[in-house]
């Protein structure tokens, strides 16, 4: 479904992603694990078209998207929940959700979608006309996910959904990701520092080290790999 070939990305003169090839198949949860600065966020930003690549290709359902502007990529059905939630702090919860459906033309469907999201996250409904900036971290993460669901994307890109969030809420969000995949058949590419969580959630995993893929395979296998255990899972 999402196919990346030999992708390279530069920041100014420094190459951050040095030739990555990877694939996400329909219905899968794929996770990308790596240390800080390995290039995970950059990869997701490049897929969404916010950052431009210097070489290589990205294909989404047969369409080359590495030269497309981000709003066209959104149209094709890629929903990106960015690192740090990035909700619009001065807008209300409702306005934030409406922004999620910015590219959708069918306003009736949108109403249904809103109800659906309030069903998934009842806490958002309580805060419907509150400014998003005043929400707690966990609530903001829910809002960010809800905002992405509004678009009904075919693929979700999750960037560090557990970062800076209370442990109890993390479980809730992990549950949500699983539900999206199982109940709604969404394909998910998950970037996580919390490798433990990510490997449990996902079907397959890639390990990214300083801009290159160093290891890949089914998540269970990787979770048992010595090196992964030592470096990413913290086993001694």
């Amino acid at each position: 479904m999402l196919n990346i070939q030999d992708l390279c990305v530069n920041y100014e003169k420094n190459q951050v992603i040095k030739g990555i090839s990877m694939e996400v198949k329909e219905g899968e949860i794929v996770t990308l694990i790596g240390a800080n600065g390995a290039g995970k966020t950059t990869l997701l930003r490049t897929i969404s078209g916010i950052k431009s690549s210097s070489s290589g290709s990205i294909e989404f359902m047969g369409n080359p998207i590495h030269k497309m502007p981000s709003h066209k990529i959104v149209d094709l059905g890629i929903g990106h929940i960015p690192e740090g939630r990035r909700v619009f702090p001065e807008m209300t919860v409702k306005e934030n959700l409406e922004m999620g459906a910015y590219r959708r033309k069918d306003s009736k469907e949108m109403k249904k979608e809103l109800d659906h999201i309030f069903e998934l996250f009842p806490r958002l409904k309580e805060r419907i006309s509150q400014r998003a900036g005043t929400l707690s971290g966990g609530e903001q993460q829910m809002l960010a996910i809800g905002r992405a669901i509004m678009l009904r994307p075919k693929v979700y890109l999750f960037d560090e959904p557990s970062l800076g969030i209370a442990p109890l809420v993390i479980a809730e969000i992990a549950q949500m990701i699983k539900r999206l995949n199982e109940e709604e058949g969404a394909t998910i590419l998950l970037v996580e520092q919390n490798a433990n969580l990510a490997l449990k959630l996902s079907h397959r995993a890639y390990i990214l080290e300083t801009g290159k893929i160093s290891l890949e395979g089914p998540s269970e296998e990787l979770a048992n790999d010595d090196r992964v255990q030592k470096i990413y899972l913290g086993y001694e």
């Binding site: 969404s48 959104v74 990035r86 619009f88 001065e90 922004m99």
Partner: protein, 290 residues
């Protein structure tokens, strides 16, 4: 004296509303695009000329001319953004500022070369008529300026608050990347912001050109003042820009009333520094001051 104070209150309101049209556009461009556009005053000047040519040469109705000016200069602003500021998207604040100064030199001197340096008077439909408010007479001209400004600012407020484009503008202002992830076409939005800003400045030029006179150097001071007002109100804040404009209008009027006109500039700068000392990000600043 009391009559003079009432007069001053009205004068300050009119001056303030004129500054507001300039400042709102300026602050939009800064707040969303982080560009300090010192060519803002030249767009105002172009608006003055466009209105003058339509009204006095082609005998078009003043208000129709203003709307046409809004559109023409707005479109012009859109292309300026595409041609000059888009390639400078990742440049530093100082570099875009200097580029805008180059643009300002280019436009004002080109107009000077093409249209000459003569001053021109825009014929206003109700010139010379006045009505009585609170016992003092106020010209219809100024009331029209005041009402039109208020209308445009409210219209802009409505667009920003309730329309889809307005929401996209706000989203872009608060978080450009997140807005792009929602599918907002950032390039288009930037162009629209510039067009709105240029259009408002151009209408201000037409209105003020009719109140004063039109000439190629008319944009310099208002452009500068818009900058100061926006800083005073808080960079990027529309409400701040409106309040800053009023404060500035009243500061000038009351300086003339109680001191002397020639201290206007000095008083303006001193107020600016005082405000910033107590509220370092401007009156309504602190939200979008990246």
């Amino acid at each position: 004296m009391s009559e003079q104070i009432i007069q001053a209150l009205i004068n300050g309101l009119v001056s303030g509303s004129i500054y507001a049209l300039m400042a709102v556009g300026f602050t939009l461009v800064f707040g969303i695009m982080h560009v300090i556009n010192l060519a803002h005053g030249e767009l105002y000047m172009l608006g003055g000329f466009s209105t003058f040519f339509m009204v006095s040469i082609y005998q078009i109705n003043f208000f129709v001319a203003l709307i046409a000016t809004l559109i023409i200069i707005g479109v012009f602003g859109f292309f300026i953004e595409k041609i000059i500021f888009k390639p400078l998207r990742n440049a530093s604040l100082l570099n875009t500022l200097l580029a805008s100064i180059g643009l300002s030199l280019f436009i004002s001197n080109l107009v000077l070369k093409l249209a000459g340096s003569d001053m021109r008077n825009i014929e206003f439909p109700f010139s010379g008529q006045s009505i009585s408010i609170l016992g003092t007479s106020v010209s219809v001209h100024r009331i029209v300026v005041l009402l039109l400004t208020a209308f445009l600012v409210c219209l802009l407020g409505w667009v920003i608050k309730y329309t889809k484009v307005g929401k996209a503008l706000r989203a872009t202002a608060q978080d450009t990347d997140a807005a792009a992830l929602m599918g907002v076409n950032i390039n288009l939005i930037y162009g629209i912001i510039f067009a709105i800003s240029a259009g408002l400045a151009a209408v201000a030029g037409g209105l003020i050109g009719s109140l004063y006179v039109v000439d190629p150097s008319m944009g310099m001071m208002p452009g500068m003042k818009a900058f100061i007002i926006v800083i005073l109100g808080g960079m990027g804040s529309v409400v701040g820009a409106l309040l800053g404009a009023l404060i500035f209008g009243y500061a000038e009027t009351f300086t003339t009333l109680f001191l002397e006109s020639s201290y206007q500039e000095l008083v303006g700068f001193i107020i600016l520094i005082l405000v910033l000392l107590f509220k370092p990000s401007g009156l309504f600043g602190g939200v979008n001051t990246k």
